[in-house]
């Protein structure tokens, strides 16, 4: 019976390759069904690969650290002695050899090219170094064997640093351009008095820490209120397609996290059913796992509407770009104490701006206006 061939899984819609960061099992180790046997990293996540079958790890085809395209064979799992050839047709044709079937193919890691020439600077580089005062050992060499070329020195001494695009950055760029170019954005903003929310959070904090292990954030309250408000404004939770507007029946709430210079957008699926504690826990858990690169891939998929905590750094106004496949993005700006008129007197209140970009093909001003009016109302109802 042939062994099960394991290929590099597709860890996300737009992911085309993965890196084996660690083999958790060695060739010959028994593996239970669903037991993780390898760790894989992509631009976005680290994931453990569970075994689809029980058996023994018969062969490892990809070395630790190697990056391969999705679908590339990475291992065989099955009964000892079963066929582990990579081409099934060839295995049936090949004469059965008692030894061959037990042989495990372990591909050696590809050696890094030895860093040569690192100390050997060309006459032109030496002259340039003298002129510029730059330390060539601090310059990243792009020549043969990492040699520092004259151009590298020139690059290092210009006022512009060139940062090659990572795959993740390319993807972000492509998505942004696509969204900005295809979606006719409209934008609006509303001002909310969140003094009650500020009091509520202070009041809830101690019991939350005791019960849940973390302090609730304003953003969690805000996002949860957005989800609840959507119940009466389903058009905000929709998308445009060439033939129809598709309105989602569930709220898969996407929220943006800045991470190591990248932007990742985890999704809290089915958030419309969650009470605040459940929701806050989900968001807290996903945020901390995102920071440690332990989000599962399907947690980065989909999203029917996005919220963004743009106020985290003090912004009071922003104009966000809608995520592709959605119709709206809602931001929470910074909460600031401001003098406002309450009952014809000037009071000091904690004020919050909420900004919202909409796909005007899907949503008209009246719809987003109604949504923001209700969102404001719900937030202002919160109190200790």
């Amino acid at each position: 019976m042939p062994a099960t061939l394991i290929t590099m899984p597709q860890l996300g819609e737009t992911v085309t390759e993965g890196t084996i960061t660690r083999w958790l099992k060695r060739v010959g180790d028994p593996i239970a069904k669903y037991e993780a046997f390898a760790e894989v990293a992509t631009d976005k996540v680290n994931a453990e690969i569970p075994s689809p079958t029980a058996g023994v790890l018969l062969a490892i085809h990809i070395a630790e650290g190697a990056t391969v395209a999705t679908g590339t064979p990475i291992a065989h799992i099955g009964d000892p002695g079963s066929d582990i050839s990579l081409t099934p047709s060839a295995s049936t044709l090949a004469p059965a050899s008692p030894n061959a079937s037990n042989t495990v193919a372990v591909i050696e890691p590809v050696a890094e090219p030895a860093p040569t020439n690192l100390r050997h600077y060309s006459p032109a580089v030496r002259r340039a170094v003298r002129a510029s005062g730059i330390d060539p050992s601090t310059v990243r060499g792009t020549g043969t064997g990492g040699r520092v070329t004259l151009r590298d020195i020139a690059t290092a001494t210009t006022h512009v640093e060139r940062i090659p695009l990572t795959r993740a950055r390319r993807m972000i760029a492509a998505h942004m351009v696509e969204a900005k170019q295809t979606i006719p954005h409209a934008w609006t903003m509303i001002e909310v008095d969140v003094s009650g929310l500020v009091a509520k959070r202070a009041h809830d904090a101690a019991s939350f820490v005791a019960n849940m292990g973390f302090k609730p954030t304003y953003f969690q309250y805000f996002a949860h209120t957005v989800v609840q408000t959507l119940a009466r404004h389903p058009m905000m939770n929709a998308r445009f397609t060439p033939d129809a507007i598709e309105v989602f029946r569930r709220v898969d709430l996407a929220f943006a996290i800045a991470l190591d210079g990248n932007l990742i957008v985890p999704v809290i699926a089915n958030s419309q059913h969650m009470d605040f504690a459940t929701f806050a826990h989900a968001m807290h858990d996903m945020t901390s796992r995102a920071r440690s690169h332990h989000l599962a891939v399907d947690e980065l998929h989909g999203g029917t509407i996005t919220v963004n905590n743009t106020g985290a750094n003090g912004s009071i106004l922003s104009s966000p770009i809608i995520n592709g496949g959605q119709a709206a993005i809602v931001t929470m700006e910074a909460i600031v104490k401001r003098p406002v008129v309450v009952h014809d007197a000037i009071a000091i209140r904690s004020m919050l701006n909420i900004c919202c970009s909409i796909d005007h093909r899907v949503i008209d001003g009246d719809v987003v206006g109604g949504f923001l009016r209700d969102l404001k109302h719900h937030l202002e109802q919160l109190h200790a």
């Binding site: 060309s122 006459p123 032109a124 020549g143 043969t144 040699r147 004259l150």
Partner: protein
């Protein structure tokens, strides 16, 4: 006029014969046969046997007589039928022509042009393929010119005829009918000792001459699609060497590749490399590289051996790429 290299030589010689009564052409088969490439066809009828002289098969005699003519007021243009045959005249060229001005303390000069077809890639085998430039490169008093394009051929041949000292004028056989271009009708000259930038670039300087300039240009054009910018310098004159053009180019590209068909060892490229090493060391961001004919005694008879001897534009592109990536 729209000409290839053969026609450029023929037209320029014809103009010179018409213009200057002192000009005499002498060599094997230049008269009745009209030269093996038909460069001097019908010249005998037009200018007569006093000026178009069929010689015996004796290269030493051709050059020896021509040196005497030149010293005595004529303007001989001697032809060595193939460069491979020039060796019997080595003494007359090196020992006499090149030394005339020095030996006579300037009383005599030797205004002699020695034209000869050279180079391989034409199925010429051992004795119709060689490059001779390095053998004469060593000799002070001798200028060596090797143009590869019709406009350069005309301008440099006119300059050579006008020059008061001996010139070795090399015509690469493979370029004779390689390209056809429009050139000026009048008898213009191009200064001897002046290289020409045939393609501008910023990443690498390629110095070459003769047929290989054509191939280097092909390779450079190919590499432009890889965002590699190659400057191709056609020396045109091998000696005197145009240091200025080479050094100016290097101050821009900082990388030098020298390509020639002649052997590397003790060749033209060696002299250029030495010049650059002593005059422009701190411009160099990569070792100077020479891509030259192999160190074997001759171009093989077998086609495969000849092909192996000649450097292809693909090989040139590979070397250029490697140099830029170094």
């Amino acid at each position: 006029m729209n000409v290839n290299n053969v026609e450029a030589v023929r037209a320029t010689l014809h103009d010179a014969l018409t213009r200057d009564e002192r000009i005499v052409i002498l060599g094997e088969d230049v008269g009745a046969r009209g030269n093996v490439f038909l460069i001097t066809k019908d010249f005998l009828q037009e200018f007569g046997p006093q000026r178009i002289v069929d010689t015996p098969l004796s290269e030493s005699a051709i050059i020896g007589v021509a040196v005497g003519m030149a010293m005595d007021g004529l303007r001989p243009i001697a032809e060595i039928q193939f460069a491979d045959f020039i060796f019997p005249a080595f003494n007359q060229i090196v020992g006499e022509a090149a030394k005339t001005r020095y030996r006579s303390n300037g009383d005599y000069t030797c205004p002699l042009v020695i034209r000869t077809p050279y180079g391989g890639g034409v199925r010429g085998a051992l004795s119709h393929s060689i490059s001779i430039e390095a053998l004469f490169y060593h000799v002070p008093g001798l200028k060596i010119v090797a143009p590869a394009f019709p406009a350069d051929v005309r301008g440099l041949l006119n300059a050579a005829i006008a020059d008061p000292d001996p010139i070795l004028f090399l015509e690469h056989k493979k370029t004779y009918r390689l390209a056809r271009t429009d050139i000026a009708d009048e008898a213009y000259t191009i200064p001897i000792g002046q290289a020409d930038i045939k393609r501008s670039g910023t990443d690498l300087t390629v110095v070459s001459y003769g047929y290989f300039v054509h191939l280097a240009l092909e390779a450079a054009a190919k590499l432009s699609s890889e965002d590699i910018s190659v400057e191709v310098i056609d020396l045109r004159s091998i000696r005197p060497m145009d240091k200025t053009t080479i050094l100016q180019s290097l101050s821009k590209t900082h990388r030098l590749l020298i390509i020639h068909e002649d052997h590397a060892f003790g060749g033209i490229g060696a002299e250029i490399a030495a010049m650059v090493a002593s005059e422009a060391l701190f411009e160099l961001d990569a070792p100077i590289r020479r891509l030259c004919g192999p160190d074997v005694p001759a171009m093989g008879y077998a086609h495969a051996l000849e092909d192996a001897y000649m450097i292809s534009s693909e090989q040139m592109a590979t070397a250029m790429r490697e140099m830029v990536q170094f």
